[in-house]
């Protein structure tokens, strides 16, 4: 065994150990799995947004070549459970969601019938032979219309289509509004998005001869899927094995329970054969959860010097036709709890309504609620600066939570706590990196020449790694906040980490190994990381909410320390000295101040398994497991800045520069950290400038049904992103790490919108809703020029 060459690993920009596999096309995804005698499932989806199902005629489909089974929702009723949400905020009315619609469809894309056939092509042929008699009903797709009197009603048990009303706040907003110099109000739309993964969803369920069932699924949360599938299909959980192989992106969309994930296991058992389903891109647009889809109404009660005295937020969160997995928590706790952003606003009043509409269910998408919350806070604070004609930087400084205020409980509210931060520090770094004053001068100078440039800024904070477990119970979140890690050192000294986190391209095989390598002081090449198999990995909650390093990484850290503690006991026994006399450094157990020859980690590992010289009462072996439950959540923060030029003739936005300064606590791997920022910022730019799901307001038809209509930005569409970090360690975990995965998609939308609005300010434009597409910007300019907007 080689000794470590470079310690510490934490802080080193190591390339992903996974790169070679992925870049050379040797990743193994669910769709790569082909099993003997495998059958293929295809789904007939509703062409209507809202309709009664009068009859499903399967006779011709059942008679078609190669078809083994064709079923309607009525055929499945009572045989398979309904899809239940996993996060049910207290007081939420939950609609029933059959796996396959029985008598009524509520969105375009909902499952109506299914075919299992010997090949996918034959299954598709048979789908075309199914005849469904629908009676269409009026549909509603817009959250502001769905709550109105007389709107089409989706579920009998949910009057006015409102599943939850959530209130949060502190202080006295009304009083603040009375005492303010003025109240500034704005209404903003957080555009509906599709979490576009390179790999669409897929699933293979394989019944085994021993009565067990193996389910291959690209899951961010394999152990959660094991539980949900077992509970809903009615199969013993201990006989179910969930394997998540390589995953081509998740972004939140692969952590929910979908019909196909229940149908394949059910059908595989029924037909005693492996059953596979994979999703086309068009299906993905109409069946995998969407993101965002809010309308917010905001009031800011301010003094003329820019001090915010109070804030009021009303959110309408469109969650689609049913409550998806986490849907009651997204527009509520995850959004409006964060409405005050990085600012000290003592008087806050927020109300959020969770609204059902005839659209694809909406659930987590990179940041889930925090991008919406930051967009509220940032658009509001920028509006304050604009209305008062103050420098947006100065208004932010005036209201920032100060470093001495941490831990900070915004508006003295019930549950939100920011553990640490230094916003002013991030701001100063960002201003310097961006060259703020020079840029503003240049912008002003070029405006006189008819060039429209703009500077945008956004600050953000949020909370990562939902925990501790006991507190999650209060919000109705039916899972824990811990993560497990098993660190197993074999008799040669080779280390295997079994982690309940789940990489979907994140590079956990590198970052988790870096954490363990530092504690164990072994070369990273001697450490393997195992994830994504419920039979190999003891337990876990998976990867979401930027929790993998803060919770999963801390779990690996704590467990590795336990390994060292036990190894130290063994070393002391081998060296015949007291345990306290043994020091462990550079992979050697030594007795400082003596000439006793040190012992290597691998020699101690060997002894752990030979067992001859263990201290009394110590078990052989070197294998530890931790279920790490954090005491609190880390709050990442940051300041992003953008510089843009708008062509007023075409409305095209050219992004000239983008600077991101993020404080995510201790950085484990700066290369992967910057990669997370890059990816998140690109998705944030996508929301700000490109992406929007559209539905026809009358028919409820999905108008962005493919990537021909739904604009995902290309590489050429995004700028070089200059990412750097400030490290304010989180006091909530032993590494000091906070989450990073969602930072970019939280900060970038308001940052980009502010930059464009600044560029458009000579026209008197103060608001354009996302996405700021060229036609939309052009229309806003025309509107302003004709004076209609003034």
């Amino acid at each position: 065994m080689t000794e470590p060459e470079t310690l510490p690993y934490i802080g080193q920009p190591l390339r992903r150990r996974e790169d070679l596999k992925f870049i050379t096309g040797r990743g193994r995804y669910v769709d790569d799995i082909a099993l003997p005698h495998m059958l293929h499932l295809t789904i007939l989806r509703s062409p209507h947004a809202h309709a009664l199902i009068k009859n499903v005629d399967l006779v011709a489909a059942r008679a078609a070549p190669g078809v083994r089974l064709a079923l309607s929702g009525a055929d499945l009723a009572g045989k398979i459970g309904s899809i239940k949400p996993n996060w049910i905020l207290p007081g939420t009315k939950v609609p029933d969601r059959p796996v396959v619609a029985v008598d009524r469809v509520r969105f375009v894309g909902e499952c109506v019938a299914l075919v299992v056939a010997e090949t996918r092509a034959l299954a598709n042929d048979a789908l075309g032979l199914i005849d469904v008699d629908f009676e269409t009903l009026p549909a509603v797709v817009d959250e502001t219309l769905a709550i109105k009197d007389g709107a089409p009603q989706l579920h009998d048990n949910i009057p006015n289509n409102v599943a939850t009303i959530y209130n949060v706040g502190g202080g006295d907003y009304q009083k603040a509004a009375r005492e303010a110099d003025r109240v500034i109000s704005l209404q903003i739309v957080n555009n509906r998005l599709i979490p576009t993964c390179m790999e669409t969803r897929a699933i293979v369920a394989e019944p085994n001869a021993d009565g067990t069932l193996t389910v291959y699924v690209p899951s961010q949360v394999p152990h959660m899927h094991r539980r949900w599938i077992a509970e809903t299909v009615g199969f013993p959980e201990h006989l179910l094995r969930v394997i998540a192989p390589d995953i081509g992106g998740g972004f939140g969309a692969k952590m929910h329970l979908y019909p196909e994930e229940l149908l394949c296991p059910y059908l595989a058992r029924l037909l005693a054969a492996p059953v596979k389903w994979w999703e086309t891109r068009s299906e993905s647009h109409q069946s995998t959860s969407h993101g965002r889809a809010h309308t917010e109404t905001i009031e800011m009660a301010v003094r003329n010097d820019g001090t915010v005295l109070g804030m009021s937020v009303e959110t309408l969160g469109n969650v689609g036709a049913y409550l998806s997995n986490m849907a009651s928590g997204g527009p509520t706790i995850n959004t409006v709890n964060f409405g005050t952003g990085t600012y000290k606003i003592a008087n806050y009043r927020a109300i959020s309504r969770v609204v059902l509409t005839n659209t694809v269910p909406v659930d987590a998408y990179r940041g889930y609620g925090r991008p919406e919350g930051a967009y509220i806070a940032e658009r509001a604070i920028d509006a304050v600066a604009r209305h008062l004609k103050l420098d947006p930087i100065e208004v932010r400084r005036r209201n920032f939570i100060a470093p001495a205020d941490f831990p900070y409980r915004p508006y003295n509210g019930p549950s939100t706590i920011y553990d640490s931060g230094n916003y002013e520090g991030c701001l100063e770094k960002a201003l310097a990196a961006f060259g703020y004053e020079a840029r503003c001068d240049e912008r002003d100078r070029l405006r006189t020449k008819g060039l429209y440039r703009g500077v945008g800024i956004a600050a953000y904070t949020h909370m990562c790694g939902m925990a501790p477990s006991r507190r999650l119970a209060l919000s109705g979140f039916d899972r824990g906040g811990w993560e497990s890690a098993r660190v197993s050192v074999d008799s040669s000294g080779r280390v295997t980490i079994y982690s309940g986190s789940m990489s979907q391209g994140h590079g956990h095989a590198t970052s988790l190994a870096q954490i363990a390598a530092d504690v164990l002081q072994v070369p990273i090449d001697n450490i393997d990381v195992v994830q994504g198999d419920t039979r190999q990995v003891q337990a876990g909650h998976g990867t979401f909410n930027s929790r993998s390093m803060a919770v999963g990484g801390s779990s690996v850290h704590v467990t590795s320390r336990r390994i060292v503690a036990k190894a130290t006991k063994i070393a002391a026994s081998m060296l015949e000295v007291g345990e306290r006399d043994v020091a462990y450094a550079a992979g050697q157990f030594s007795v400082p101040g003596t000439d006793i020859a040190p012992l290597s980690f691998s020699k101690v590992a060997r002894m752990a398994y030979v067992g001859h010289r263990l201290p009394d009462g110590l078990e052989p072996g070197l294998d530890e497991t931790t279920f790490y439950d954090p005491t609190g959540m880390g709050a990442p923060s940051g300041v992003h800045m953008a510089y843009v030029e708008v062509d007023p003739e075409t409305g095209i936005v050219d992004i000239l520069d983008y600077v991101a300064v993020d404080d995510v606590g201790t950085i484990i791997n700066p290369l992967l950290a910057s990669g997370q920022i890059h990816g998140g910022v690109v998705q944030g730019i996508a929301q700000a400038l490109y992406e929007e799901v559209s539905y026809d307001s009358e028919s409820g038809q999905l108008l962005t049904g493919s990537l021909l209509d739904y604009a995902v930005p290309r590489a050429e569409s995004v700028p070089f992103i200059r990412s750097s970090f400030q490290e304010t360690p989180s006091p909530t975990n032993p590494i000091g790490v906070k989450g990073i995965g969602e930072s970019g998609s939280i900060a970038a939308p308001p940052c980009m919108v502010h930059a464009v609005l600044d560029a458009l300010s000579p026209f008197g434009i103060t608001h354009v809703d996302m996405p700021l597409t060229p036609p939309r910007i052009w229309a806003a300019i025309q509107h302003a020029r004709t004076g209609a907007g003034q």
Partner: protein
């Protein structure tokens, strides 16, 4: 999705292709680059009984640049982009090809397929219009040539009969000093033109002696901006002339509105992009 089942024949000669298509014109489809046809089949928006793969017909391939220019219908976007001789004669080809989709698509998609498909937002229709190209067509009755301006009829509709095959594009050798430019504002998702403006123009003694303007993306079919063209003839490209020509072009277009862009926006883009194309000639 997977396509419905169909028969597939790869023909070696033009006459075989003609014969197969003529036998059942309504149920047979020609397969060239396949970049529109295959997705259409996969989505089951079409389910022809027979696909006639014409990819092996030598006569339909290649770029000849001599006294005149002949481009086989099967020439890929990538080949049009790469051809040095074509670039020398008419740089607009490389310029336009570089704005079409991405390298993978350019490696397979063909100019003939693009023209025959007549997507109202495709790029090549504007180019062939601006260059006054002639399209060589073969059918059961033999060969004929048609001016590009007579070829595009409506959305996805050309003057081709169901049993016709587009064989080649012919372009007269450009006059010395001919300037050509294609400007395109692309749709952020599809990459197709929201508006594309192709201009070919030559001058004598500083005055425009010949001009042609092809516009795509804006209307239900690619068209030539005739009023703007006529206005330009005999004038110098002054700021005022350019402005007036751009206005004329935008006014003569019957623009489409869709979810992404309004007709007004498209009209404005015609004006902006034509003006910018003409200004770029002044900068040459």
């Amino acid at each position: 999705m997977t396509p419905a089942s169909f028969d597939y024949v790869r023909v070696a000669s033009l006459s075989d292709a003609i014969a197969l298509i003529a036998a059942d014109p309504d149920n047979a489809k020609l397969l060239a680059g396949g970049h529109t046809l295959i997705p259409t089949l996969k989505l089951r928006l079409a389910s022809p009984a027979l696909l006639v793969d014409i990819g092996g017909i030598a006569e339909m391939k290649g770029i000849e640049v001599g006294d005149n220019i002949r481009i086989g219908a099967l020439t890929t976007h990538a080949q049009l982009l790469a051809s040095a001789r074509l670039h020398e004669a008419l740089p607009i080809f490389r310029q336009a090809a570089s704005l079409i989709a991405d390298p993978q698509v350019r490696n397979r998609g063909t100019i003939g397929g693009s023209l025959a498909n007549a997507d109202p937002a495709a790029d090549w229709p504007a180019i062939v219009l601006a260059l006054n190209a002639e399209l060589e067509i073969v059918g059961p009755g033999g060969r004929r040539r048609m001016a590009a301006k007579d070829f595009f009829v409506d959305i996805m509709t050309t003057a081709l009969n169901a049993d016709d095959i587009l064989l080649a594009i012919h372009i007269a050798a450009p006059r010395p000093g001919t300037l050509s430019r294609y400007r395109k504002i692309h749709h952020p998702a599809s990459g197709y033109a929201v508006v594309g403006v192709a201009v070919a123009l030559s001058r004598q003694s500083g005055l425009v002696s010949h001009a042609e303007i092809g516009i795509t993306g804006a209307a239900s079919r690619a068209f030539t901006a005739e009023a703007a063209r006529d206005f330009l003839i005999g004038k110098s490209l002054s700021v005022e002339t350019i402005k007036q020509a751009a206005l004329l072009a935008s006014e003569e277009a019957e623009c489409l509105s869709d979810r992404y862009a309004s007709a007004d926006y498209r009209k404005h883009l015609i004006k902006t992009e034509l003006a910018r194309a003409l200004v770029s000639f002044e900068e040459v």
